[in-house]
């Protein structure tokens, strides 16, 4: 048996880590909730697992998403993750090949060059040796970059990098020490044993000229083992917990496990998967003028530390820009929302919110403008005009009274209350017999689509209007106006509707693209999700977003959300219009008369009295 | 502009009492009643000024208009020369004429007033006589009053009042020809009809409440109900 006392710190650290991880993960898996076990069992032997494995490779080792943010940053992450991973795997192969047996002491590959002092003669062993040196160099280049990033983060496209806690700094110091120490230990050993390769051997020879290498080697191996063991002990308490957790998270996610509405189980997997890379910081529009150190990376850190986070949880636009770029793919806005959840929850007076009275609905299409629509009557009026011209029979659900879809309460973390409020509308929709529900408000849309779980088709008006155009129900004049489209958060990032509005707009004029569009689209500042931000601060965001969209002096800024329209109008030089308004302006009304004569075909808005 | 509003406008007290209120609230600030009741002369003026019949009807059927003590403090303060107190009088009159007064607890007390004071005027020529302050209905007067009440003739003699006797002096008996003159005045001016109206509306209400209202006086269930009932909701 190959043994030396210096392996003890490493073994102890490793053992400790395994116990802690088993205990922690066991607890979280236990909290996944009912049905999770069945779900995992059912998915285990399906394609989902393969897909998850691929994702683990792409994200945990190669860090594809980080590459997309900045290639140098991506290389830095990849060199550390993939490099270290390969160092372990290849090291194992090397040791196995050398000893001729697969099973050997688990620490043996790691301290291989300490135990195997004879210079390697065979080509294969020399190849392994060179490969290991190469990997070490690969990792060390990453460590050097990381060091450089500490001092100059802008070099990797990050205006701000994470301000770390002292615990994280300790773990970081240990991590950075591991590889230089390994280099030194191996070089010193190579200095007297000659078992090094292209990196370690010359360095060893060099050191041998000035240092008593034989005497120094063992203490440095001790140091290497201590640092390695120390890092593993520190790992569960530092941001490096993300290394093992992220792998599990990817599998669980692919198997269809979702976080519940409290910080437990799956939420912990997400929470501990945050590597505190800080990429989210720059994406946050509240940064840096309005508030510092409140971005997701800090929020998750406080949450993980079990600190009071109510204030932090509320100080967020919930725009989802950070989530879009998060390399780990954590459902960040959801974590923020569920942290807003109040203990005393269900105290809303549900009886105060009467349902939409049920008349005999004979229409197949329901139109729901949304409560914000009453502040942007241009959109409502345009939709009425378009629907009338199209000849579609429809019912305007909230023409006279505004009803709340419940999403504002949900975003504020008052889930039970949101449920109660939405119940009434849901009943009216379900029992209406209609097959299509069209809404002008992306917030309502998200709510109807994801939370209501109704049988009928739920469409945002941009989807519906495109259908009407494609189906020849309405025809529009094309123009040559230069348009810029602003993606509303709730429609784009949250609901994935990007193409339909653009398709409509290309029919109406020429669409100019801006850099921050699609998933990267800016928040208009109107954010329903941020409850504590002051109007002055909102206006800062509104102004900068409006200025950004106006950069190429378009003729008109198009959007598809009443709240975005309202927010951008004040500061925009060019007019801000909803897609429905643009269509209504360019509507060809030639068929209109035919419809008008057929009175029965006309939409009839039912008076809704309560 | 509704029916009730137009009827109010026929009342001189309304025309004089409410010209153009600008909702400054000084009447409410000075009002002794507003200090204790949920009573707000400003709001009443505003309601009437809006000429909305629905809310005027609500007002006429409520306890609110009966909280006013008609002290007319409001008249002295109003910067626009309005008199909410006069407006209240007009509202009360309309409430009596429409029969809405029976809808509220304080309004129903019109019946007791009609029976006690109304009867007293017509039969004796006096609004108020000591005999009307029955200790059973007025416990607040205490035991001394009860003794006085039981020994009224002797006490009156002792203090030198010409109590219910012919000739001059306080509380003397009113001559029959004078009494019939008073009755005639009531007949001609519509006072009798007005009393009759209150009687009729009250009797309807008494029937509705399954209480007997009697033909005269206060010795009946409806009278004692309206006289003594206090829901405790007046604040």
């Amino acid at each position: 048996m190959r043994f030396d006392y210096f392996v003890v710190p490493f073994c102890a650290g490793f053992g400790y880590l395994i116990i802690v991880l088993l205990f922690t993960y066991g607890r979280w898996i236990n909290e996944l909730g009912e049905g999770a076990a069945l779900k995992i069992f059912k998915s285990l032997l399906t394609r989902k697992t393969l897909l998850a494995s691929r994702e683990v490779f792409q994200e945990c080792l190669v860090h594809r998403k980080v590459f997309r943010v900045n290639p140098l940053l991506g290389y830095m992450h990849m060199s550390l993750a993939l490099g270290w991973f390969l160092l372990i795997v290849i090291g194992k192969f090397e040791a196995s090949y050398f000893t001729g047996e697969f099973t050997n002491e688990f620490y043996f590959p790691i301290f291989f060059r300490f135990f195997e002092l004879s210079p390697h003669r065979t080509f294969t062993l020399q190849f392994f040796n060179a490969l290991m040196d190469f990997l070490l160099l690969f990792i060390l280049s990453g460590v050097a970059l990381a060091l450089y990033k500490r001092f100059k983060s802008s070099a990797m496209g990050m205006k701000n990098s994470t301000k770390h806690t002292s615990g994280d700094k300790w773990a970081l110091a240990l991590l950075w020490m591991i590889f230089p120490l390994r280099l030194f230990a191996e070089s010193l050993t190579a200095g007297f044993a000659g078992n090094g390769s292209f990196l370690t051997q010359p360095l060893g020879n060099l050191l041998g000229m000035i240092l008593p290498v034989r005497m120094l080697a063992t203490p440095v191996w001790w140091g290497y083992s201590i640092v390695l063991g120390g890092f593993m002990v520190a790992l569960p308490y530092s941001r490096y917990m993300h290394i093992p957790t992220e792998i599990l998270l990817i599998f669980l996610k692919n198997w269809g496990i979702k976080p519940k509405d409290s910080i437990s189980g799956m939420a912990f997997f997400e929470l501990y998967s945050c590597s505190r890379c800080g990429i989210c910081i720059d994406r946050c529009q509240l940064n840096p003028a309005i508030n510092k150190k409140n971005q997701m990376v800090y929020f998750l850190r406080e949450l993980r530390a079990g600190n009071e986070v109510t204030q932090m949880a509320h100080n967020c636009l919930l725009c989802g820009r950070c989530q879009e770029i998060c390399p780990v793919g954590i459902d960040l806005t959801n974590l923020r929302t569920i942290s807003r959840k109040q203990k005393d929850n269900a105290h809303i007076h549900s009886s105060s919110y009467p349902s939409i009275p049920m008349h005999s609905f004979s229409t197949k299409v329901l139109y729901f403008a949304g409560c914000m629509g009453s502040l942007t009557p241009g959109i409502r009026k345009s939709m009425e005009t378009i629907l009338e011209v199209s000849g579609e029979k429809y019912l305007f659900l909230d023409k006279e009274k505004s009803y709340c879809c419940g999403r504002p309460l949900k975003l504020a973390g008052r889930l039970a209350e949101a449920e109660k409020v939405s119940q009434n509308i849901k009943e009216a929709i379900v029992s209406s017999g209609a097959n299509t529900l069209v809404t002008s408000c992306p917030i309502c849309y998200k709510s109807f689509k994801d939370d209501y779980k109704c049988e009928l088709r739920v469409l945002h008006h941009s989807e519906y209007l495109l259908e009407l155009i494609q189906g020849g129900m309405i025809s529009i004049r094309s123009g040559n106006k230069r348009l810029v489209y602003h993606d509303p958060c709730e429609l784009g990032r949250k609901s994935g509707i990007y193409t339909q509005p653009r398709e409509i707009l290309t029919k109406l004029g020429s669409l100019t693209n801006v850099e921050e569009a699609y998933g990267k689209s800016l928040c208009c500042g109107g954010s329903l999700g941020h409850l504590t931000i002051s109007m002055e601060e909102r206006e800062q965001i509104q102004k900068s977003t409006a200025e950004y969209l106006n950069q190429d002096n378009p003729d008109c800024i198009a959007t598809a959300c009443p709240l975005c329209k309202k927010s951008l109008t004040k500061f925009s030089e060019s007019p801000v219009k909803d897609i429905a308004e643009l269509i209504a302006e360019n509507l060809i009304k030639s068929n209109y008369k035919d419809h008008k004569t057929k009175k029965s075909n006309l939409a009839e808005a039912v008076r809704i009295d309560t | 502009m509704g029916r009730l509003y137009e009827r109010l406008c026929e009342d001189l007290r309304c025309l004089e009492g409410l010209k153009s209120c600008m909702n400054c609230g000084v009447c409410t600030a000075i009002c002794p009643s507003a200090e204790f009741y949920r009573y707000d002369p400003r709001k009443i003026c505003d309601t009437v000024q809006r000429a909305d019949d629905e809310s005027i009807e609500q007002l006429l059927k409520s306890d609110t208009i009966w909280y006013c003590g008609e002290c007319m403090s409001c008249k002295t303060r109003c910067p626009r020369g309005n008199t909410p107190g006069l407006l209240i009088m007009a509202l009360r009159k309309l409430s009596q004429e429409m029969g809405y007064f029976t809808d509220s607890e304080k309004g129903r007390q019109q019946f007791a007033i009609r029976r006690v004071i109304g009867d007293s005027i017509l039969t004796t020529g006096y609004c108020m006589r000591p005999i009307l302050v029955n200790p059973a209905n007025h416990p607040e007067q205490g035991p001394v009053w009860e003794w006085v009440y039981n020994n009224l003739p002797e006490v009156m003699d002792k203090v030198g009042a010409n109590y219910l006797k012919d000739g001059p002096g306080a509380l003397r008996r009113i001559a029959p020809e004078v009494l019939s003159e008073i009755n005639q005045i009531f007949q001609v001016t519509g006072g009798q009809d007005f009393f009759q109206l209150i009687e009729e509306f009250s009797k309807d209400k008494a029937d509705e409440m399954c209480l007997d209202a009697g033909e005269l006086g206060g010795d009946n269930a409806y009278f004692s109900e309206v006289y003594t009932k206090n829901s405790g909701n007046h604040h």
Binding site: T310, H349, C371, P408, L409, L528, T532, M535 | A136
Partner: protein
């Protein structure tokens, strides 16, 4: 002797010297925009919840400012947090945050 329902009527007049300044001090600290309200009522007029019940953000702000804390018990829970009040306010008052603060400060009392 008849049964008499005498009650001693409490004064309806508010004594501003005795007003409860605790809540306004705390809320004013957390959300100073409460002092900017001019009582125009546009919030209550646009309010989605107020269409169906007697909820009135303006009245709540007024009650807090004049220390009539009792009047707003249970009121804040009627808010649907739709944020339209803030969109129409001519003085940029963050009404939603005021209501959230009331809930937080008053805790169980606010129910």
């Amino acid at each position: 002797m008849s049964e008499w329902g005498f009650t001693v009527i409490q004064t309806n007049q508010s004594d501003m010297d005795q007003m409860d300044r605790g809540l306004i001090a705390k809320i004013g600290n957390a959300e100073p925009s409460i002092f900017w309200c001019i009582g125009c009522g546009s919030c209550s007029a646009t309010c989605t919840a107020a269409q169906f019940n007697n909820f009135s953000p303006r009245r709540i702000i007024q009650a807090i400012r004049s220390g009539q804390v009792k009047d707003i018990m249970g009121e804040v829970n009627k808010c649907l947090l739709c944020g339209k009040c803030q969109l129409v306010c001519p003085r940029h008052v963050n009404t939603r945050n005021i209501l959230l603060n009331v809930k937080q400060i008053m805790g169980q009392d606010a129910i």
